[in-house]
Amino acid sequence: MTTEWLWIAVIACGAATFAWRALGVFVVRRIDPRGPFFQWVTCVSYAMVAGLIFRMLVLPESELASVPLAVRVGAVVIAFAAYFAFSRRLVAGVLAGSLSLSTMVHWFS
């Protein structure tokens, strides 16, 4: 692929993503943030984001796919346990979860 072609791909992908963002701005300028349409779009965004995260954990397309599902789920449970045990500190939960995932992978493979 030529240098020009690659640059066009990068900039066109940036523009295509920006189009969604701009559409969001145009919509939000025209609606009442206390109305039902706003609440519905908020629900859609929460469902999308939760679905994305659930997909990353349960049906990953990254290298995480090589880790057995039970190990991934076990590490999520450990992360939540540490998060609540350390008065909802995100660092505690993330460290406990990702360290336990690495440890389990190291032991079982």
């Binding site: 791909a9 990068v10 992908c13 701005v25 929460y46 984001v49």
Partner: protein, 239 residues
């Protein structure tokens, strides 16, 4: 608890919150993207500009993966666009939370360009602790800080500056979804919680039958269900 209403304190809080985890998570996830870009034949400055301009990992991954398989330009841009379509509802739900009534259109477009799932989740969590007129400053400081970390991470990954054992890499990839799962577990509001639960229930099916638009379907179906169920519920409470 008193709200934070001093610009120095707000900037300090935003930088401290970004360094508490999100900046590192983005640094490591974008390292993965940078290394993929290098393997696919993109140049270093293209990788950095891609992170800066696209600023949404699923779309960036769609771009680099389809380039690697030799797809045409239109297919690549279309796949990237679909993978990042979530920004439209995310912008709609985020902009009013900043409570900036009188922002001009260009300023709002810049705000929208800076938005990522990290700042969306973190700001919706932290905004209640900040005075309304300082929320935009908090957001911009936080978003710039993690964007900088992401671009540096992209370049580190591109040049293969940090070589880590595979077990450690797995743990680092895992930090990103884990972080969001923990942040979102504290989301208030029955409509939002029901939407998230139904989103998790629907996404495996949507991914199986419509992999290209799985998140769009998940959002529309799960969000509508959460919205309607919460309204129905509240109506029952009023009786």
């Amino acid at each position: 608890m008193a709200l934070i209403g001093d610009s120095n304190q707000v900037v300090r809080k935003a930088i401290a919150d970004s360094l508490s985890l999100p900046a590192f998570i983005l640094f490591f996830t974008m390292m993965g993207f940078g290394s993929l870009m290098q393997n696919t034949g993109y140049h270093a400055e293209m990788a950095a500009v891609a992170t800066l301009l696209i600023w949404g990992l699923p779309g960036q991954l769609a771009m680099v993966e389809l380039t690697a398989t030799g797809q045409g330009l239109i297919a690549i841009v279309f796949a990237c666009s679909l993978a990042n379509a979530r920004f439209m509802p995310m912008v709609v739900s985020f902009v009013p939370a900043m409570q900036r009534a009188s922002a001009s259109l260009p300023r709002q477009l810049l705000d929208a360009q800076m938005l990522s799932i990290n700042s969306w989740a973190m700001c919706l969590r932290e905004f209640p602790k900040v005075e309304p007129e300082y929320r935009h400053l908090y957001y911009m400081t936080f978003a710039s800080s993690i964007l900088l970390a992401a671009v540096i991470g992209t370049l580190f990954g591109f040049y293969g500056a940090v070589i880590l054992p595979a077990v450690v890499v797995l743990g680092l990839i895992f930090t990103s979804p884990l972080f969001f799962a923990l942040v979102l577990s504290a989301t208030p509001g029955s409509a939002e919680r029901l939407s998230m639960l139904s989103g998790c229930a629907i996404v495996p099916l949507a991914h199986h039958f419509f992999p290209a638009v799985d998140l769009l379907i998940t959002g529309l179906v799960g969000g509508s269900f959460g919205f309607l169920a919460a309204r129905f519920w509240q109506r029952g409470d009023d009786d």
